[in-house]
Symmetry: C2
Subunit: 357 residues, 2 copies
């Protein structure tokens, strides 16, 4: 089944030889990250969050759910084949880029890729891999990963926000995921922070996602250029406004470009406003910003904190930590591993050998 | 200690004779409601939420914390004196109109009345009454009361919003209060729903409280009149704009007054927007509106639901129930009783006889 030919851009750079210290005695798991158009699989020490091996590929939306599962299994087979004899895996965790029913491991919906709706992903993978499999929405999984291994250590009450193509979130209260009555909690990207704001992908107006996601940052920059403001941005994008990305906007702002700087200031204001609102409701200890946009680090976080201070409930000002996620590119893998860590903590009997169904 | 002379407007109408069916065998509690300028005490069957006896009074802010405690104890002494011999009380619950540290029963802050900050209310009352005493912030207590006895029955995930002089809230997730990392969760009145909106009592701009509380409804009506709009409202307020209340605005709107109707439409839009946001974060089964303003019932709820539908995350539209609280005037007493019910469920050994310290 040589499906990896369909899988564009497999990156072998992440592969390395297994070392003696990698075999940690039953504390390893398989971690899978289904991210829309990117797949990643890893073997992770779920106690420490150390990623021992990983394999990644891009996958077409056109391949649909079945194609993506086949591509993922090919990545997994490669990892398992390279694994030393006798290494045990506790189980497999899956971070999935869309709403899931965690209790059954069923995908509820995928906005972008056909064939996912209602697919019983946990049982499909469990049957194939001979491992217990846990499936969770990606923002929830990554929130748990940050709690266990990353910027959430020491905090039992936190909100994780991923600022990427869109904006999502995961809520952890008292050390446990709060999934919501229908599994829809943490949709922080769809707080309406500017009721008169732009149309969102969800059909509403003024959602945080429509103002501060990666795509929205690029759109706001294009709008500023279209209004005639002079900027380096167009040159950075080689003359094509459609090539402007959030990353370019941050780069131009670092270079002193005023248009880019004012776009980032406006985006940070809106993010701080949204964070202030969710803190008024939840009173978390910490808010963690992840996703590609958060790679900007303090360039984004400093003005976000300032906006938070302007809009937060007075007793919360200066008392909520707003920090960058520890893992961004590996967030999905660590989130998937965290699911296994949590399950293992609850049930020390779930360890199984690879291949024994 | 005839302090009830200081206590203006004691209402004996709530008093009635004890009946045989009122003595329910150890399932009664004392319920106390400290509400800024109103005090209420009751003897409540914490299993059913039936208020058997109650006494109420108004109390001046000037009397301070010590004066209010003395007034409350006078109400309590009256109730206990009228209680048949041999009736046992499980404990006392206290609903307090301000932030408290529930674990220790200590008042953190009172915005309006001097002397409360840091006062160990539970231990003070427990020593005097010879009963275990539980203290909770009023919005949290009432949320629990609605869960156990009122509009929250059957829902384990709910948000209670009180729309009164100000706007507060209580969050119940998985059947338990979510108090927040610092006890400040549920400050739904301080979500910034209109960043360019009016100044709030908290110092921020555009908070829900500054747009939709009882005081804000009256203010918005006065602003509409000041802008020259013709309205019956001024006549209803006997010519004095300062006499306009939220209740008068609702009454004028029912009478067809267009200014009052447009104020209520705007208020309902803002409330629906705020509810949409908290649902995007929490995904509750039900949102319960209480407080004096919610007495308007469907006149308020119908346009609030419409605004919610316009602003909610699409997967939540038509799936969150927005209902009126079952108890409004007695909400504080039932909330206080609910604290005892919860504690009794956790610890069936906490029953004590009245007067045994």
């Amino acid at each position: 089944m040589p499906r990896l030919s369909h899988c564009i851009g497999t990156d072998p750079a992440h592969r390395k030889e297994w070392g003696v210290s990698d075999v940690t005695g039953g504390d390893l798991c398989l971690a899978l990250d289904f991210g829309g158009t990117k797949l990643a699989a890893g073997i992770v020490d779920w106690r420490s969050g150390h990623v021992i091996q990983q394999a990644r590929c891009r996958t077409g939306e056109a391949s649909g759910a079945e194609g993506q599962i086949a591509d993922m299994l090919e990545l997994v087979d490669g990892l398992l084949a390279a694994m030393p004899q006798g290494v045990r895996l506790t189980g497999a965790g899956v971070s999935f880029g869309g709403p899931v029913e965690a209790a059954t491991g069923t995908v509820l919906q995928s906005h972008h890729v056909p064939g996912w709706d209602g697919l019983p992903l946990a049982s499909r993978l469990s049957h194939r891999l001979g491992l217990p499999v846990l499936v969770e929405n990606d923002a929830n999984a990554v929130a748990l990963g940050e709690l266990l291994y990353g910027a959430g250590r020491g905090a039992v009450d936190l909100v994780y926000m991923t600022i990427s193509t869109g904006i999502g979130g995961g809520v952890i209260l008292g050390g446990e995921l709060w999934r919501g009555h229908r599994g829809l909690a943490g949709e922080v990207g769809h707080m309406v922070v500017r009721p008169d704001g732009p149309l969102c992908t969800c059909g509403n107006y003024g959602c945080l996602e429509a103002l501060a996601s990666g795509l929205s940052i690029a759109r706001r920059a294009r709008e500023a250029l279209a209004s005639g403001a002079g900027s380096e941005l167009l040159a950075l994008a080689e003359g094509d406004p459609q090539s402007i990305t959030a990353e370019l906007v941050f780069r131009a702002a670092r270079g002193g470009d005023e248009v880019a700087q004012s776009v980032i200031a406006a985006v940070a204001t809106d993010l701080g406003l949204g964070i202030a609102m969710l803190c008024s409701i939840l009173d978390p200890a910490r808010v963690i910003l992840g996703g590609g946009v958060a790679k900007a680090g303090e360039q984004l976080l400093a003005p976000v904190r300032e906006s938070f201070r302007r809009h937060a409930f007075p007793m919360l000002v200066d008392r909520v930590e707003i920090v960058r996620a520890a893992a961004i590119d590996e967030g999905g893998l660590l989130g998937a591993a965290a699911l296994v860590a949590r399950a293992a903590a609850r049930d020390r009997t779930c360890q199984m050998h690879v291949g024994i169904p």
